[in-house]
Symmetry: C2
Subunit: 329 residues, 2 copies
């Protein structure tokens, strides 16, 4: 059915290995032969089988990115990763993870990729362990697992959480609520830890009556805000574990005709593009996801080149971005 290197060889009057070498610009074949082969290949519309090549060389030149596409954060990581890998001759494929569901199939283990970028590791996720056992190089981006010692690129979530607490307390807020994320993810739990530490420094605590916890989504933010407001007298400020949740919270406030920031200060995290929309003007914590993605690609490529090299943990600084959703009490 499909055209193979044997077909090209027959047409060009050479052997199959010569076709293989010629098309890869191997200097062992003469310029004349190379040209003959090129013509024949073009004539037949020959495209080398990636399967055959991979099996023969034991390398696929493919990198998998495991991401949760329901979360608007991740599409943003795709571009930089793609470019960094493409520059080194690697292809990138996306393995979609949906909601909280974990990738269970063995596409990462069955030899069809050379390495992986994990962006949605949970703290006790076994996937990184499996990869390590099977010798599949990988790097953790954004979130990490605590079960494994491996290359990672993260943001300084603790500092970010602390900065939010400092901002709000400095503005005079004393009754502060929070919509937190799942304890199972390192990013959410670090942000929470930093935030609580910041409150403590100001002599405050975060009572459980002022906390709702959920996954990173618009709908969770919206429902959580309603839940918090339904508990009686309302806080004067709220910290949201990320921008999507914050936007959900703001929409809940809009539904109830409560003004932001006059009746409630709202702060997010991530500084996605949506935070800068005039409609929201969301105060948030900027994370350089583009830079982190590039760095992660760099680390993975280094790991492919030297599987024994020292493990690297890279932490990116974050920056508070003050817009219009916070106000002095």
């Amino acid at each position: 059915m499909a055209v193979t290197s044997h077909d090209v060889a027959r047409l060009a009057g050479v052997s199959q290995p010569t076709v293989s070498r010629a098309l890869r610009q191997d200097s062992q074949v003469s310029a004349a032969t190379r040209e003959r082969v090129r013509i024949a290949a073009e004539q037949l519309g020959y495209v080398p089988s990636e399967l055959g090549r991979s099996l023969s060389t034991m390398s696929t030149r493919q990198i998998a990115m495991v991401a949760d596409l329901d979360n608007p954060l991740y599409p943003q990581l795709v571009g930089p990763l793609h470019d960094a890998f493409a520059a080194k001759g690697f292809r990138m494929v996306l393995l979609a993870e949906r909601g909280e569901e974990i990738v269970s199939d063995g596409r990462l283990l069955d030899g069809s990729v050379d390495g992986a970028v994990l962006t949605t590791s949970q703290l006790r996720s076994s996937l990184p362990l499996q990869l390590q056992t099977r010798g599949v190089p990988f790097v953790q981006l954004n979130r990490v697992s605590e079960l494994v010692e491996a290359d990672s690129v993260t943001a300084d979530n603790v500092a970010g959480g602390r900065a939010v607490a400092e901002l709000l307390t400095r503005l005079g807020h004393r009754d502060i609520a929070a919509i937190l994320g799942p304890r199972e993810t390192s990013s959410a739990s670090e942000r929470e830890r930093g935030f609580r530490a910041g409150l403590r420094s100001a002599g405050l605590t975060l009572p459980s009556a002022r906390v709702v916890r959920g996954w990173f989504s618009y709908e969770v933010g919206r429902a959580a805000m309603h839940e918090l407001l339904g508990r009686g007298n309302r806080p004067t400020a709220i910290f949201c574990i990320n921008d999507i949740v914050a936007v959900g919270a703001i929409n809940a406030l809009t539904e109830l005709a409560l003004d932001v920031p006059n009746e409630m200060s709202v702060v997010g995290f991530d500084d996605l593009e949506i935070a800068s929309w005039p409609t929201f003007g969301l105060t948030s914590v900027r994370v350089d996801f583009g830079g982190m993605a590039s760095r992660a690609a760099e680390l993975l490529l280094a790991r492919l080149a030297d599987p024994q090299g020292p493990v690297v943990h890279d932490q990116f600084p974050v920056e508070l971005v003050e817009r219009r959703t916070h106000r002095a009490r």
Copy 2:
């Protein structure tokens, strides 16, 4: 390095073919042997090489989805496609396309996928032609190419555009603007065609002074709105080629402190989740992308089973969803 079926065979005291058969529950191998093999495989942590299997069977059980991840519409198609394929034993990989850039590499042609779902075909895109020539089954979802006769699943964009025009004219608007999409995409040009036809039915036209054209993005919508308003006296209503553009336009209006819908009616298209956010309450045209995605998967699987079957063009109806961004003039 990696564990192969030969290793398992040696440990279980059988031949490699027997391992292959045993692990795939082939009834030719006795229950006892099957169990011995299973134990041995587990003990070694054996994972069958997908490369070897694919090369041997000439089928990869992988489907590629080509999508533009910068557009929030596409993540929404991933889930339904993924599930429909998974149900039939196929894996899905995403090939990212960025902005207007076309996928140029040959991952679709090099035999590493059994088929493809194209979601971002441009009208004169050559990719579908190449696939057809190479005999790679594919289905076009959402947008189609005019150069090829192949399975497709689309929305009734013409009817949607017409419905928007009818809504606005019925409300008494006479000076209507539009932020249109690229002529190179079927979805945008069909919506435009329907919209213009609807205006014509009401005795109106769409003067070029009232039109800005751009790609499907927030920033385009925002800039286009500023551009339109900078041209002097302003229209009373505007049709945006999709919801993302509409949200950009609304944000531009917010920046200028112009009230929606009192000073300008805005209508989008697609009815993404964001359209239903209380903050926007965007009037839009609902497209059943989930249903379309499932149908596309179905068509592709049918095509894989019967490459010679009749070509199917499936068009889904759309529905106007009236929210709060339109108002009688």
